[in-house]
């Protein structure tokens, strides 16, 4: 009996180990700039930041830099689709800062009384066509995605990358029948990485972060669907001083440098 349970436990551990390994792409980060923050006074305590999935790589770097500049502070991130984050915040999830991939999701929070104002736009992001490395299907334009035999993944319209994709496709007058509507931008990108689809519309920053597996193809129509990323300190923040300092750090030149090197555009 005992040995049976040991075997089961071992099997479970192996599986858990395997699943932990499968995530290495997310930790690829642009060059970390270590240094002290420009802000004079340092802050302490835990700062909980809810941030859009597309900010994963750059915010992890910014978080490390912020902690280095404020030795007493610890930043914890919750990365997910902006709309899921907004729902979590409105349901009382403990967050100090919300960085959304679109103003609409921030508005959901402010409408529910979770924060005041419209936040500060700290970056803009633009869509590109992500194709598996090598671009075997020779996709060059948005119209190429309508060709028969080209499998396309889009984000669902409920999440910002899907809303942006719809806007870009509408302005271009291109009608695509995707094979799937993914729950967030990273899921759409994963389908490209695995070669299950021939193309997906993702943010430029996501394509850049996955540059080893994915080529990003710019298309002019994406200019019509640029996403503003607002950041805001939440009313119920447990650590308002830490939250303010983190937002200031994101908006500082050091924060901007990290974001730009990840492919974001200045607002």
């Amino acid at each position: 009996m005992t040995s049976r349970w040991i075997r089961i436990t071992l099997a479970a551990l192996t599986v858990a180990g395997l699943s932990a390994c499968g995530d290495d792409t997310k930790t690829a980060s642009p060059q970390p700039s270590v240094g002290s923050a420009s802000s004079a006074a340092t802050v302490t305590g835990d700062v909980t930041v809810f941030a859009a999935a597309s900010l994963t790589e750059s915010f992890k770097t910014i978080g490390k830099d912020f902690e280095a500049a404020n030795p007493g502070a610890k930043v914890t991130f919750n990365f997910a689709g902006s709309s899921a984050l907004a729902t979590q915040i409105n349901q009382g999830a403990p967050a100090d800062v919300f960085a959304s991939a679109a103003p609409a999701n921030l508005k959901t929070v402010t409408d529910a009384g979770g924060a005041e104002g419209t936040g500060t736009t700290f970056v803009k992001n633009q869509l590109v066509i992500a194709v598996p490395k090598g671009n075997l299907k020779g996709i060059k334009t948005l119209a190429d995605l309508t060709k028969p035999g080209v499998k396309v993944a889009l984000c669902a319209e409920q999440v910002p990358c899907g809303a942006a994709a719809k806007k870009a496709l509408d302005t271009a007058g291109v009608k695509i029948t995707p094979v799937t509507l993914e729950q967030d931008v990273k899921a759409a990108l994963a389908k490209v990485k695995l070669g299950e689809v021939d193309a997906a519309l993702v943010y430029r920053t996501d394509a850049k972060a996955a540059a080893t597996d994915v080529d990003g193809i710019e298309f002019p129509e994406s200019a019509g669907a640029i996403n503003d990323y607002p950041i805001i300190v939440l009313k119920k923040a447990k650590n308002p001083a830490g939250a303010q300092a983190f937002v200031a750090y994101v908006l500082s030149d050091k924060g901007k440098a990290v974001l730009t090197s990840a492919g974001f555009q200045a607002p």
């Binding site: 040995s3 071992l10 094979v179 509507l181 993914e182 729950q183 299950e196």
Partner: protein, 273 residues
């Protein structure tokens, strides 16, 4: 609940005090399991319910869910019952390891299961690439893909239930059949299977319920597209992104339908041995 004996007659109720040590935890357990349902019911947008129920897409997702969960259960029974028999009745080296491996989908986070399925059955997967180039068959983004994902996640429930039933069944009947000249196949179909039918039914119900609620492996392996792969749990998740009320309504529909079906089946099919 009156006590029913084998002849179907109601035995006179024996008034015995239920031990508090059982009653209290049982009550707490029931509360814990049903409170989230109460939460959904309290928060449900009852006034706009009629419009929301008739919204396009709801019925499509519901029918797809029922259809896929049922097909997945059929697949699980076809492959799971023989596997359970093998585990319960045949001594072979590495049987313990095989039994542990059968439970892998239970411990695997479903999303990881979906990725694993992609790595095998995906367009560039170990088998999928060959299937695609040779026969032009691909599973991701198809309804078949949904059935595969659900069967993968739900099959252990069936196997564990059926294996338990087989181990509990009196093997003397099988031995008697063998001494009377029945082969292993005849014994299996004519003696073993009728003997463990309640266990198979219980396993199939568990399996169906798990398949119906499947989310992670489905969205990862089969994707999400209305009409082909968007089952109710996927629709609920995406509704949650923008509209909590819609998500609650969808959840309630799924719960009502599944509880109705399960309650309807339970008394008729599942008699505890």
């Amino acid at each position: 609940m009156p006590i029913v004996d084998k002849a179907g007659e109601v035995a006179p109720p024996r008034r015995q005090r239920i031990p508090l040590g059982l009653l209290v935890p049982a009550g707490l357990g029931l509360l814990f399991l049903t409170f989230p349902l109460v939460g959904l019911l309290v928060r449900a947008p009852w006034t706009t319910l009629p419009q929301r129920l008739t919204e396009p897409g709801v019925l499509t997702a519901l029918l797809l869910s029922l259809q896929c969960a049922t097909l997945a259960t059929v697949v699980c029974v076809l492959f799971g019952v023989p596997l359970a028999w093998l585990l319960a009745r045949v001594e072979f080296p590495g049987r313990r390891l095989v039994r542990a491996l059968v439970t892998v989908p239970l411990v695997l986070p479903p999303v990881v299961g979906g990725v694993a399925l992609l790595l095998v059955f995906g367009r560039r997967g170990l088998l999928g690439e060959w299937l695609d180039t040779t026969f032009g068959i691909t599973f991701p983004f198809t309804t078949t893909g949904v059935v595969i994902a659900e069967a993968f996640v739900a099959m252990p429930f069936l196997i564990i239930a059926v294996e338990g039933a087989l181990r509990g069944a009196d093997s003397r009947f099988e031995e008697a059949a063998a001494t009377l000249g029945a082969g292993r196949w005849t014994t299996f179909t004519h003696v073993t299977l009728p003997l463990v039918a309640p266990g198979v039914a219980a396993g199939a119900v568990l399996c169906w319920a798990r398949a119906l609620g499947e989310f992670g492996a489905t969205i990862t392996f089969a994707g999400n597209y209305p009409g082909t792969t968007q089952t109710m749990p996927l629709a609920v998740y995406l509704a949650l992104e923008t509209d909590l009320d819609a998500a609650i309504v969808l959840s309630l529909i799924l719960l009502t339908v599944s509880v109705a079906i399960l309650a309807g089946l339970r008394d008729r099919w599942i008699t505890s041995p």
